[in-house]
């Protein structure tokens, strides 16, 4: 692994270890631990989205659907079928990956706006499904009493344990993703983004890779969904709407689309913004999100991560 990535990983790990130590000892920010758990869950989704958008150059405006599919599968299998949560998580990944494959194959033949609309439409259809299949999902009012997670009988029933679990999984996924990026597969993805026709001419199986990375990102989202379910203990379709899909894209774009660290930065920033600093703006949080997205995409198209000199590379052509 490249040394800059190694250093960044080390830095992140140190930060993650120190964070709860500080947060739990300063009452004013004690709840930051809870927010960081959500940051971790969204980071999991957004690493996948970053691979899809930033590296492979595709777009998905419906990723909340995969998040929701993982969440609901875990919730339903655990409550209605008394399945073990870990098994349910695996089942969730399986189902979500299958759906992603079925939707992905025809959708990824589309480009640009049409792909965006297709994924948007798909996301809304899934949300309607969650709303309408009341016997399965509890409909608009959702369902609750979802059990928490435990490892080998040791129950993860407080914020600190959950924080450790979530961020441990995030780090593993981050390492996996960085390995993929700096490999033959990563180069294939980046090549199809830069010049699909040249990538084809060099023998890169472009349509296959688009689908693979789409399914992978759906799998990441599914795991995140399962983690979300067992943490919150309650599910309702309104949590998995189009606006969440947009927020996810925002987090990736604002942080810096072409760089997986950018996705992490953007996720952290916008989650804290939404949960903590925007409470002041309660009724116009949507307004603020729209304004931020607009400002970033117009003035800082490579995202905020490029303000950190050592983290950035010159991505622009020429």
């Amino acid at each position: 692994m490249q040394s800059s990535n190694r250093k960044a990983l080390l830095g992140l790990t140190i930060f993650l270890i120190l964070f709860p130590v500080v947060a739990m000892n300063v009452t004013a920010i004690g709840h930051y631990l809870d927010i960081m758990i959500f940051v971790g869950i969204y980071c999991l989704i957004n690493m996948g989205l970053s691979l899809l958008m930033g590296y492979a150059g595709q777009i998905s405006l419906g990723h909340a659907a995969f998040f929701g599919l993982g969440a609901y599968t875990s919730g339903i299998l655990c409550t209605k079928f008394a399945m073990s949560p870990w098994l349910a998580m695996v089942a969730g990944v399986g189902i979500t990956a299958l759906v992603a494959y079925i939707v992905g194959v025809p959708s990824l033949k589309l480009k640009g706006h049409y792909l965006a609309m297709a994924t948007l439409g798909f996301g809304v259809i899934v949300q309607i499904f969650f709303n309408e299949e009341v016997s399965l999902t509890g409909g608009p009012s959702g369902f609750s009493d979802i059990p928490g997670l435990s490892i080998l009988g040791f129950s993860l029933n407080n914020d600190l344990y959950y924080y450790i679990l979530v961020w441990f999984l995030v780090l593993l996924t981050l390492i996996f993703s960085l390995n993929v990026i700096h490999s033959r597969v990563g180069r294939a993805l980046r090549s199809l983004h830069d010049s699909e026709v040249a990538a084809d001419a060099m023998g890169v199986e472009t349509s296959r890779y688009k689908v693979i990375i789409f399914v992978l990102s759906a799998a990441y989202a599914s795991i995140a969904g399962s983690l979300y379910t067992h943490y919150v203990g309650f599910l309702s379709p309104s949590s998995f709407d189009f606006f969440l899909s947009i927020k996810l894209v925002m987090m990736v774009v604002v942080g810096g689309m072409h760089n997986i660290w950018g996705a992490l930065l953007g996720t952290w920033l916008l989650t804290f913004l939404g949960n903590e600093w925007l409470h002041v703006f309660h009724d116009f949080d949507i307004l603020v999100y729209g304004a931020i997205l607009l400002a970033v995409v117009m003035f800082l198209p490579d995202g905020l991560v490029h303000l950190v000199p050592r983290m950035s590379r010159v991505w622009k052509r020429g």
Binding site: P106, A116, F122, E132, F242, L287, V288, G290, L293, M298
Partner: protein, 300 residues
């Protein structure tokens, strides 16, 4: 008490379908106008409809202005919004990538939604129908007079747009831009002005749609996204860029949706249009009336 016959029901669904379909048709036409000149899909198209409805509420209910004046002011206001959007967010990004343009129009749609929520809150609003609320009876179906206004407005829009494109200088210039922007530039047509007009025109049509549908189905701050999706579905179904295709497809979509809602399941009615959108994109992206070669939608 009048018995509701099956015929009566079907006619009811048909009228509802044509009414809501007319709105989809107008949104679709709005997409096409902008797409033809710039190849941009304007995700904020649905917000023009939403703003049309809500601003109309303001002028009629809050400002208590006479209906025709309120209507004209509403359309003017939303047209202005469309023009501002183009000047401030589209024009500066002339050479941006497709992805950037997508995100920009999405961001603007969120911004509009946020502003609407700020001004009007999350509640739905309504204002009285143009000609009163007494329904007309037609073969056992109760038809609202506002429905006739919707159809009338749609027809007027079709006629005016046809005249615009075929007879006026600006209209012909826009067609030229759509066909061959380089050649258009060479003969002195200012493409940037055409783009501005396309946004203003789309906004105006959206405003009319919003103003005319609100007395029937109310309007709230977040109606835009679903309208945009369905309108886009109609645009693609009719062949992206095809004016008449958009109108036919929009009404067709509305009828299918209404029939499904009435006869099958009202909860899934929104999904109908979306599934149709996906099917068209996957199977025949050139739509019903489009040109197969003109659709550069898919790769080889």
């Amino acid at each position: 008490m009048t018995k509701i016959t099956l015929t009566g029901q079907l006619i009811q669904y048909l009228f509802t379908g044509v009414t809501v379909g007319s709105i989809y048709a107008m949104v679709a036409v709005g997409f096409n106008i902008i797409y033809n000149v710039t190849e941009i899909i304007n995700f904020a198209q649905g917000e023009f409809v939403m703003l049309g409805g809500l601003i109309m509420v303001f002028f009629t209910v809050t400002a208590k202005l006479p209906l025709p004046l309120a209507f004209v002011l509403t359309v003017a206001a939303v047209t202005g919004v469309g023009a501002l959007m183009e000047r401030f967010t589209i024009n500066p990004l002339k050479n941006a990538s497709v992805l950037t343009m997508i995100i920009v129009t999405i961001a603007v749609s969120i911004l509009f939604k946020g502003i609407a929520m700020f001004i009007w809150g999350k509640d739905p609003y309504i204002f009285p129908p143009f000609s009163g609320s007494k329904p007309l009876f037609f073969y056992g179906a109760a038809i609202q007079t506002q429905t006739l206004w919707v159809l009338f407005m749609t027809a007027v829009m079709v006629v005016l747009m046809t005249i615009f494109y075929k007879k006026t200088r600006y209209g012909k210039a826009m067609l030229a831009c759509a066909d061959n922007p380089e050649a258009a530039r060479l003969v002195g047509i200012k493409v940037s002005v055409m783009i501005l007009i396309s946004f203003a025109l789309s906004a105006a049509i959206g405003a009319v749609a919003g103003a005319v549908i609100t007395p029937i189905s109310l309007m709230e701050y977040d109606r835009g996204a679903l309208l945009a999706l369905k309108g886009f579905g109609a645009a693609v179904l009719g062949g992206l860029g095809s004016f008449y295709g958009a109108v036919v497809a929009g009404i067709f979509l509305g009828i299918i949706e209404s029939m499904c809602a009435g006869l099958v399941s009202s909860g899934y009615k929104d999904a109908v249009a979306l599934i149709l959108l996906l099917l068209v994109l996957y199977v025949r992206p050139s739509g019903l009336f489009g040109n197969v070669e003109a659709s550069k939608i898919k790769e080889f």
